[in-house]
Amino acid sequence: MDPITPFSRRIFLQQGITLASMVGTIPWFLQHSAQGMLSSDRSVSSRAGVPEDRILVVVQLGGGNDGLNTVVPYGSDEYYRARPSLGILAPGKDKGALELDKKIGIGLHPNLTGFKDLFDQGQLAVVQGVGYPNPNRSHFASMDIWHTGSSKGRSEGWIGRYVDCTCAGSPQADAEIAIGRTAPLAMIGVKTKPVSFENAKLFQWMGKDLPSDMTNMSDPYDTMNRAGSLSGIEAGSQAAFLMRTALDAQLSSDRIRAAMAKTPLVAYPNTKLATQLKSVGAMIRDQMKTRVYYVSIGGFDTHSGQANSHGNSMREVGDAILAFQNDLKAQGNDGQVVTMVFSEFGRRVKQNASGGTDHGTAAPMFIVGAKVKGGVHGTHPSMTNLDNGDLKYTTDFRSVYATMLDQWLDTPSAKLSNKVLGQAYPNLKFLRG
């Protein structure tokens, strides 16, 4: 057969691999896989002391989740005075909260049965009163602050900077994966950009689906996009860079779609968050080298008629994360994964006239996993000492990030957090040593 007109996919792939094995044209994706294969122990990475099999999953609740109706201070009279119709009753009463800590007088929203389950198993840490100084009540601005870890409008996010700091200049193509329409700012680094897709089926070229009455488009597409850098292309040129990225994209796409093709080990609810976490579960099960996954849902901006919609959201969050955790357990990967749940702000203490709540400040965060020190961490913000009707934060969210960076994603001694966050933040104790 004429070497330049091969039409079988097998030959294309062979050709791709031959080219890829030549020095200088190795795609980043393969380069890293090769490095990974060099070490016999999966938990040991090229960088001493960095556990490569640890995974962080970030769950973003967009719109400003009402912290006070998520972790309910049922022991506080102030709470019921501020929320005459929205207040959630104490445990034991009709539609009452689910007990967390009797002494403090706090409980979970009654629909968070999934969280209660995890809490009772010692796998859910509640970090109370998380916020930051001079709170911004704009969705966009506050979300940017959470994503960048800074109030000063940076263009890189904290996770992106983390990958930049640990990748020795050449980030793995799928070091971070976000499920969603756009890549979250949190994952944008100087060197690193996340793989992001809303639906794995769309994470590929659509030209393949054109009517094939005329010709097969797939094979020529593969020939032209999987070859890596062609001969005659100067190494280090823009064209070489594009050709390598094209090959990386094809390989990532293959890998992700193959992972998704398997039926999960447990049943997930049919909600948006559960569907996203099911995909993450599938990728973890398939042993992808991804360190951080990001999922997000909206619908938390409950200015009016909050009781119903917030109740539904709570059910969605609790049930989805419980299913995810069960999946990880069934896979035997639950020791490798920690999940972190946040929102850009909480809501005002006082309910408004429309049966809703307006933008507020501090709110709880949730950390889930087998390696998590379950329980209630930190102090609930005062219900009486308010700042203009808003809660005063008791824990800076960057302390949560710092703990993740220093104790989960890196060795405790490295103090990666200083580099990523620009300054030191005290570590918290929600992870088991």
Partner: protein
């Protein structure tokens, strides 16, 4: 050896490849017919035609294109209503105020999308591509984001300012941007008061807009500059200088002492040589080469020459750019296809070059957003990073699929695609192919690659593409080998051409400009 000469390219060297390079960079590409027209004008005529766009008539932009009143200040009546609601703490009244605010927010966000669509549409349709390209440059340079400004009309006004000064005087543009409501709001200068200056605008003026990071200034200069800018605020849609909030005392900026105001501050930093060099470095990356590290040690002589021209002409932009676009260096082979198409460039150029219908503007804006560039929403005051930062595995598929959408009308998520959307008038492109092959249809695939790609395709690539088109024409025309009319017909026409375009736009080199 790369040609570093700033001397004009000779007529003898001027050809279709040069003309296309010029049209890509100083605009958004064009059809082969438009390229041929530029070839006929000669190098000087072509540059003049694009840069002196004032002589090309274009649809005038009316100030009333968008509603300026959505974010108008409250009337006295409304203000007293709000005050009363707050004072009485009456829940119904407060709810009414909140409702009013939410309605305005909704209207303004909707209008912001309309402004986005309007600008992208204008880039696609304009007869003055260089005007819009420069407007896009200034938007990235003086990056201002709607999310913070939250006033769609102010964003539109700023866009008009960039268009007005597209190729005008940079010093005057700086003076105007210091009076631009969107910018004053974006960088918090509207709150900057005597005794409590906000340093944001002063800092970015030095670091990102004029001098360049770390060039010739200190933190102290920023503090003093911020004092000079106190009292620069706006009311409704217009700049207002508030003398009561302006710090009129003496300041020392870059070693010069006086009772400086904002204009003095701008003048003092513009007088530094570093300012002209910083700006020309940015132009170089935008128009010539955005590979990592550019301009480098070797090509710095080019930006130095451009900066000298800029200073000589008191910051008039056009003569400097004319020098650039006429130079031998600009047309050196090393600079052909040496930039990566921005998401907006990719979108607009694909439409203008292939002659495909522009499809749905809202979808196109969503696509540029997915590729990392949402008009009026740069990621930060630094603007877009450009170059290789546009490209990663995710944006790569979006880029390819955007092209499929433009060429066939098929949306990535569509299950019920109307195939007739792929039937657009391909005759101009077919004629252009025929003109390049002299009727020899075996040369069609090479001709198409030469028309579409900004780089010369390698022999391997040409062979791959030829193999594909052979399979296309085989399927379309049967396997008749008896010569006759088939050999004189275009291989790539109609549906075959549409398929071929989907494939060509998927190859990595298509992302080069």
């Amino acid at each position: 050896m790369i040609n570093l000469s700033m001397r004009p390219l000779g007529k003898a060297q001027w050809n279709a490849q040069c003309a296309r390079h010029l049209l890509n960079r100083a605009g958004f590409g064009g059809t082969p017919t438009q390229v041929d027209a530029l070839v006929a004008m000669g190098p000087e005529g072509a540059v003049d035609y694009l840069l002196n766009f004032e002589s090309v008539s274009d649809e005038a932009i009316s100030d009333t294109l968008f509603d300026r009143h959505i974010r108008r200040p409250l009337t006295d009546e409304e203000r007293s209503m709000v005050q009363e609601a707050r004072r009485s703490n009456d829940e119904d009244a407060l709810a009414q105020v909140q409702k009013m605010r939410n309605e305005r927010d909704g209207l303004d966000r909707k209008q912001a999308q309309e402004v986005q669509k309007w600008w992208l549409g204008r880039m696609i349709e304009t007869g003055r591509p260089f005007e819009e390209k420069m407007t896009l440059f200034w938007h990235g340079h003086f990056a201002t984001g709607y999310r913070t400004v939250e006033d769609s009309f102010h964003m539109f006004q700023q866009n008009q300012l960039f268009r007005k000064y597209a190729t005008g005087n940079f010093a005057r543009l700086v003076g105007s941007i210091l009076r631009d409501p969107a910018m004053l709001k974006y960088l918090d200068n509207d709150d900057s008061k005597k005794g409590k200056p906000n340093e944001n605008l002063a800092r970015e003026l030095m670091e990102l807009f004029v001098l360049g990071e770390g060039n010739a200034y200190t933190e102290h200069d920023i503090k003093e500059g911020a004092r000079a800018l106190t009292g620069y605020t706006f009311e409704d849609d217009a700049f207002r200088f508030n003398p009561a909030q302006h710090d009129g005392e003496s300041k020392t900026i870059l070693g010069q002492t006086g009772a400086w105001d904002g204009d003095d501050f701008a003048r003092l930093i513009l007088s530094r040589r570093e300012s002209s060099e910083f700006l020309c470095g940015k132009f170089y990356r935008f128009f010539v080469n955005d590979a990592p590290g550019m301009p480098n040690e070797k090509t710095k002589v080019v930006t130095t020459a451009l900066a000298a021209e800029l200073r000589k002409k008191q910051y008039e932009i056009k003569p400097m750019l004319k020098m650039l676009f006429r130079s031998q260096h600009f047309y050196d082979a090393a600079n052909m296809g040496a930039t990566i198409k921005s998401p907006v460039q990719l979108t607009v150029q694909t439409i203008r070059e292939l002659g495909v219908p522009p499809r749905d503007l809202a979808t196109l804006n969503a696509a540029t957003d997915l590729m990392g560039q949402s008009l009026f929403m740069p990621p930060s005051v630094k603007g877009w990073e450009c170059g290789q930062s546009w490209i990663n595995t995710s944006t790569f598929f979006v880029r390819q699929n955007l092209a499929v959408y433009l060429i066939t009308g098929k949306r990535p998520e569509a299950f019920d695609w109307d195939e007739s959307l792929a039937n657009w008038d391909t005759s101009a492109l077919e004629a252009a192919i025929a003109a390049r092959t002299g009727g020899d249809s075996a040369k069609d695939p090479d001709a198409l690659l030469d028309i579409i790609l900004a780089v010369n395709a390698t022999p391997t690539r040409r062979a791959q593409f030829r193999a594909f088109t052979d399979s296309l024409t085989g399927a379309q025309n049967g396997s008749s080998k008896d010569g006759g009319p088939l050999t004189r017909t275009l291989k790539l026409r109609g549906k075959a051409l549409v398929h071929a375009l989907c494939l060509v736009t998927s190859i990595p080199e298509y992302q080069l400009c």
